[in-house]
Symmetry: C2
Subunit: 327 residues, 2 copies
């Protein structure tokens, strides 16, 4: 749940010198100098880079499942892998012998300087759940726009008209795309998003306890002013669980008074009280699919860069229900 400084850097946008992967200054895969025998053996290895930010660890129910998928797919294909989880320096390049590396799978947020070094080393790269417009690479992601659009459609279908999105829009590209999906469906139903609570769209906190502390005064304010929405669409499950904790403290019934939906389907979502309606992300498949995308890139270095969006599943549990009559 952390927001490391600079995490919103992708928002800067901009036009890269070329959107075509193979045209960059890095050497073509086939043009690499022949290495020693040891190099050739190492060349069959893939680096899995997991920066130690935002709880992107192997133990995370979200990132952990993705990393497992990457490792399993590589194993089944007889390709070795090295998991790099710490990154105390941006001098990533000095650690790596590019001749020994077949490719790199980046999991989650990776800073611009590190991506630039990887590009300059000429290592074929696929990023999961992150993208950097100035260093175009293939990207694997959940179809965030589409599935948050469907969450909103589901809630509106239950009769809700006052819906509030919760999540810091600059936190990640995924959050941003989920916000746009939410707005898209609101607009398709003729509902305005002008009345969204600004604080809930910029909320910060590095863990659930900080997040709950930040969210509580805003929800109290909404309750005091009798502007509490009848449904919250949250940018992820952790935020949704914090919202439910606060609503319980405030004596607001979920889903009797207010419905709450999350996104990601982490294990906690099925264990929360009430159990959380959310979008299942095929985390394991996403990891596997990233390996496929990487091997494709190794084989076809000059084909246009692509972003692969995986489908999700709406998982309806106990935290959502019909809007009250006055909703």
């Amino acid at each position: 749940m952390g927001q490391p400084s600079g995490v919103g850097a992708w928002l800067a946008g901009g036009v890269p010198p070329s959107g075509s992967y193979g045209e960059a200054s890095r050497p073509a895969v086939s043009g690499r100098p022949a290495g020693s025998a040891a190099d050739v053996e190492l060349g069959s290895q893939v680096i899995i880079l997991v920066p130690n930010v935002r709880f992107q660890t192997r133990l995370s129910y979200y990132w952990g499942r993705i990393i497992e998928g990457v490792q399993e797919e590589l194993e089944e294909r007889g390709i070795g892998s090295i998991l790099i989880t710490e990154q105390g320096t941006t001098r990533f390049a000095s650690l790596i012998n590019p001749r020994g590396v077949m490719g790199l799978v980046g999991v989650g947020f990776i800073s611009y300087p590190v991506l630039l070094e990887i590009r300059n080393l000429g290592i074929p790269t696929v990023l999961i759940d992150h993208e950097e417009p100035l260093v175009p690479t293939d990207v694997l992601s959940m179809n965030n726009f589409e599935w948050m659009r469907r969450v909103a459609n589901y809630l509106i279908g239950l009769g809700h008209r006052r819906l509030q999105f919760v999540g810091n829009l600059t936190y990640s590209r995924s959050f941003y795309d989920r916000w746009f999906g939410f707005r898209a469906m609101m607009e398709e139903h003729g509902l305005s998003t002008d009345g969204q609570h600004d604080g809930l769209l910029t909320v910060r906190g590095h863990n659930r306890s900080e997040m709950t502390e930040a969210l509580e005064p805003m929800l109290q304010e909404l309750q005091r002013e009798e502007r509490l929405p009848t449904a919250f669409a949250c940018a992820n499950d952790s935020i949704a669980i914090c919202i439910m904790t606060i609503l319980a403290r405030m004596g607001v019934s979920v889903p009797g008074d207010v419905s709450v939906a999350g996104f990601d389907d982490i294990e906690d979502a099925a264990l929360s009280s009430p159990t959380l309606t959310t979008v299942h992300v095929h985390k394991h498949d996403m990891g596997r699919r990233a390996v496929e995308a990487l091997l494709r890139r190794v084989q076809q270095p000059a084909s246009p860069v692509e972003k692969v969006l995986l489908t999700g599943e709406l998982v309806i549990r106990a935290s959502t229900g019909a809007a009250r009559d006055d909703g």
Copy 2:
């Protein structure tokens, strides 16, 4: 440029019974009944379905290049193809022996009933530039959101502050995604899209002459009220060319007074006067990539449905320039 009735049907959204391709009621590929020798031979064929709407013909500079890409990739892989361009009936199913078909590539808009029939026949399917939430299939598309976002970023970087999007938002999913990309970048620069001209977001017309006729009074109105934007971001090149035709008639200099940008990079874009700034879509690669996606689906029928978004290239030509000082 046509807007056949019902083309906005995808806007309805909705939640499909399952987002996972292989879980649908259609028989698994491996479970097909063994056919005769003739069937087996036919089974190596791929149907390329191009409904005869919206000028989606082989002769089109846009769709034609995509279809060529599909055909070439199939040919190189030794897979036969049948191009079906007419579709006078929705009883598509009666024409097809599913045992004879390896898969289907749909190019552009294909109606919901036809997609449902294809699904019920159990034919692995990839759609290019169209999607139907209720019949989930793999989809190949241009990264419309991202690249219209960059068009807007480029125009704002030239000093433009009064930007107008032009294109019917319900015409196609691509147009809709381009509109959201435009808004995203406007908002990132703190510019409002509240002042967009409603008529320019709902403009209709089946060809350039009808389109020009529909657009002309709106641009004249804007000029009369001295509300002419300093830059138009158009949903595609044909619309941009119509806008330039009208501005020329009105005595407005492009790009001296007003900049105009398109999208798609059809051949006309390089031949227009002035030549048109646009986004190059890798049409040929998109066709080829669709075949790759189809073969992947045939081999992995149960993996999660995916949407593959190809990168574009910003092509800067003569129709855009710095905003006037009073812009």
